[in-house]
Amino acid sequence: MEFLAKMMVMAVGAIFVQNFVLARFLGLCPYLGVSKKLDSAFGMGMAVIFVMTMASAITYLIQVYLLIPYGLGYLQTIAFILTIATLVQFVEMVIQKNSPSLYKSLGVFLPLITTNCAVLGVAILNTTAKWADGTPYNFLDAVLNGFFSGVGFTLVLVLMAGMRERLEYANLPKSMKGMPIALIVAGAMALAFLGFSGLKM
């Protein structure tokens, strides 16, 4: 039961309170770039969830079993980026093979997951994050944190895409069409998510 409660706390924390896009402001590039269509946004979200979860798992192992024992903390960024880049390449191959249409609609944003700060962010935050009682994350915590962070990213991306799909047909002034209204919507969403920051667990 205690584990389930912990997981709930982590899920709510990663998805709502500390949402990567709207509270930490990481990963904004795909947030605005791939949120034009609902299905490509969902595909992107799935790819990010996979990459974040896998990256969390592998980078945690690298950090704990390779970097810290040999005192190589300064290699953290390069080792993590290497891992993330490999994972993204792998995801790209899988998507190109299994879903060419998704591959096309994601376009340049798929390889750009490599440089998505949200992915590197979750990997690095996993190494520094602590529970309320001061214990650092263990392997399972790190993987779950990566997974839930990805879910949070996907949630926001899909919400945004749903809104932008409708905004396409809204009767807007010409100067507000497209990116300007998307940025305003993003700001309004961030304000709305600010409401979650009052949740104390």
């Binding site: 690298i62 390779l66 970097l67 040999y70 190589l72 290699l75 390069i78 080792a79 290497l82 891992t83 490999t86 390449q89 792998f90 191959m93 899988v94 190109q96 093979k97 060419p100």
Partner: protein, 328 residues
Amino acid sequence: MIILIPILIIGGLGLLYGIGLAIASVAFHVEVDPRVERIIDALPGANCGACGKPGCGGYAEAIVEDGVSITLCAPGGAATAQALAEIMGSVAGETIKKLAYIHCSCGGTDNTKFKFDYEGVQTCKSAVTVANGPNQCSYGCVGYNDCVVSCLFDAIIVDENNNRTIDPDKCTACGACVKACPRMLIEIVKADQQVKIECTNKEKGIAAKNNCGTTRGCIGCGICARVCPVDAITMENNLAVINYEKCINCGLCASKCPTKAIEDLMAGKRKKAKIIEENCIGCTICAKKCPVGAITGELKQLHTVDQDKCIGCEICVEKCPKKTIVMV
């Protein structure tokens, strides 16, 4: 050891990931049409976007996957179309050479009327935002050469009086200047189009004429639209517009225009129609079709062409059932 361990760890990770990706690339191998790469090699690589696709790579994919026409590459022209036809195993068809054309006769230091001295950023885009531009004509060229800067092929020549001409050999009709011109004066026109309106002014009468530095502005009188034998000219907001699909380049409009606002590259060079006497059966088709009434003759009698009236439009040559009219 201090150096060796990090090298081993990072190198080992890299090797491990590399092997993993190599295995994955075999497992998830996707066949890419080899023609795509051959087409990319055959294209000029200017990435100008004239074909409407994002760069040459995008165009190559569009050709192979979506069957897009192979004649869209403006910089490559006929040679590229031929090369693409060989790769795709299809016929190139005819690539119609097109050129950019500036619909304004002004813009130079000697032929523009200015209402104030503009001292701001030296671009057309900036100049036209200040009180509708420094030139009196709020439709005409301001002469800061945004089009020249935008041209990737050095095809717009600026002479000593800051007048622009398009070099027909260098122009690839990529359309970059069309987008660059804030007054939207430039249009992509078929290269064999001889007659073009050399003005974009939508004012009427004396206003258009007085604001124009060359006094060759379109005053919206509509004479050209009335005289056009094929109804290719329409008046839109006091401006004559030629429908190039209909235009037969007869030049009648240019000769009738009171302000000489219509450019006619063939002026004075047109041949006159002549009927080969022994073949004429007197069907009167040519006389009926002649837009200027230059052909006369009774039914079943030999017809004659009035050389003074003939404008050299070649309509009769086309319509004659016996093919007995020639241009001399």
